[in-house]
Symmetry: none
Subunit: 220 residues, 2 copies
DNA sequence: GCGAAGCTGAAAATACGCTGACAATGGCTT
DNA sequence: AAGCCATTGTCAGCGTATTTTCAGCTTCGC
């Protein structure tokens, strides 16, 4: 699960990142408003933590732009104590939840978890990808309407690759997504997993970028 | 389609109203418990969104009164995070669905749509599912018109699964919906419960998706 | 042609879910 | 109040699907 932390106060961002990483999320940071907007608009995040007071581009504006463009990932707003109207506007602009500063880190983590869980249960569950269809609700992949049997790990890998499509994903990233914290460096389990997935869906699904990682096949 | 939004937090009510209006519903608002009860009792709504914490008259009481009076429009309950017993009571009082705050507006809209669709298809409290019939009002499951004896917990599980049909539900989700929060996570009570339900309704009712969770059986 | 990166098949290790028996709980009957 | 019964959670053992590991092999880029 990939979370964007959009907060220009480095201390807060750092603390959040640490806690979220410990909770098993993959964290991306952005400190500048323009940057935040662009990345949220072009990359796939499972959730965004958005501070409203960002430099260059205001958080509310960013959020409204995203929503207008149809980006519907869950967004949790960080708002200063007492800024009541900010919260109102935030909700109206399409935020899913907000937390008031100063906050307890664990609370934010808990809420992000809740948001992601709810969102994944709801958001348009079928993604067409090449000749296959990824159904995130049924957690299965179908081809011509027929389910393709995949093991949990294979499914997770495929779902991850689909979500990161048109991007090269390193083995390390895959490891971080599919395995909890302590991963062995000297194992080739990702390679084996990729091989098994190819065996199921065809060799073309996942292309190897030698030295860099993997990416979804061209017609996918 | 006419929807009553019974929520005293004006911000939430406003946001809901906006989204529902955009989705083509006609919205009515009510902020006071007495008012909500009266209007739901005397006017015709296709669905009601009911916050439980209303002033003057409690949401659960309102719902129970409506049901006792034979009013059977679909009701979606808004409940605070972690108020597990509220949810259970809500369902038992005759609610058709609930959403936990904080929620995503689109989710509420989607659920209201689903509720209305379902209600117009069937006589609202009965849901046909395979060879079985789930009667949410009577809180029982029948087969060929004959009631199938289920324990309360078994019924809850089945109702939940029916509710989440065409979705894979993880054990964690089941635990969170059927048990109070402080529950031992390292026990296999869900597995046992599933086994017991299968013994009653047949092995095909609930399919195991190893490593992912459970789903309602194919012809259900 | 060489070395590193990636692939493969099979065995070994592990995780997951199922089962039957038992214990704790609480309601009901006598 | 005692005993009975239904209900539900706990536990240990089991079989199997799944995953990891490992050793050797192939491929790619330089």
């Amino acid at each position: 699960m990939r979370v964007l932390v959009a907060e220009d106060d480095r201390r807060i961002a750092g603390a959040l990142g640490q806690a979220l990483a410990a909770a098993g999320f993959v964290i991306e940071f952005a400190f500048d408003g323009e940057d935040v907007w662009f990345r949220g608009d072009t990359e796939a995040f499972d959730a965004v933590i958005l501070d409203l007071g960002l430099p260059n581009l205001d958080g509310l504006t960013i959020l409204k732009r995203w929503r207008r463009a149809g980006r519907n990932m869950p967004v949790l707003i960080l708002t200063a104590r007492g800024q009541w109207n900010e919260r109102v506007e935030g909700i109206e602009a399409g935020a899913d939840d907000y937390v008031v500063k100063p906050f307890r880190i664990e609370e934010v983590v808990a809420r992000i978890r809740a948001l992601i869980r709810r969102a994944s249960g709801f958001s348009s569950s079928q993604i067409e990808v090449g000749e296959y269809m990824l159904d995130t609700r049924m957690k299965q992949v179908t081809r011509d309407g027929l389910p393709v049997p995949l093991t949990p790990q294979e499914y997770r890998l495929f779902a991850f690759m689909v979500h990161q499509r048109s991007r090269v994903v390193s083995q390390l990233e895959i490891t971080e997504h599919l395995y909890s914290q302590d991963f062995e460096r000297d194992s080739n389990s990702v390679e084996v997993l990729v091989a098994r997935l190819r065996k199921r869906l065809g060799a073309g699904v996942i292309l190897t970028r030698r030295g860099l990682g993997y990416t979804l096949g061209g017609n996918f």
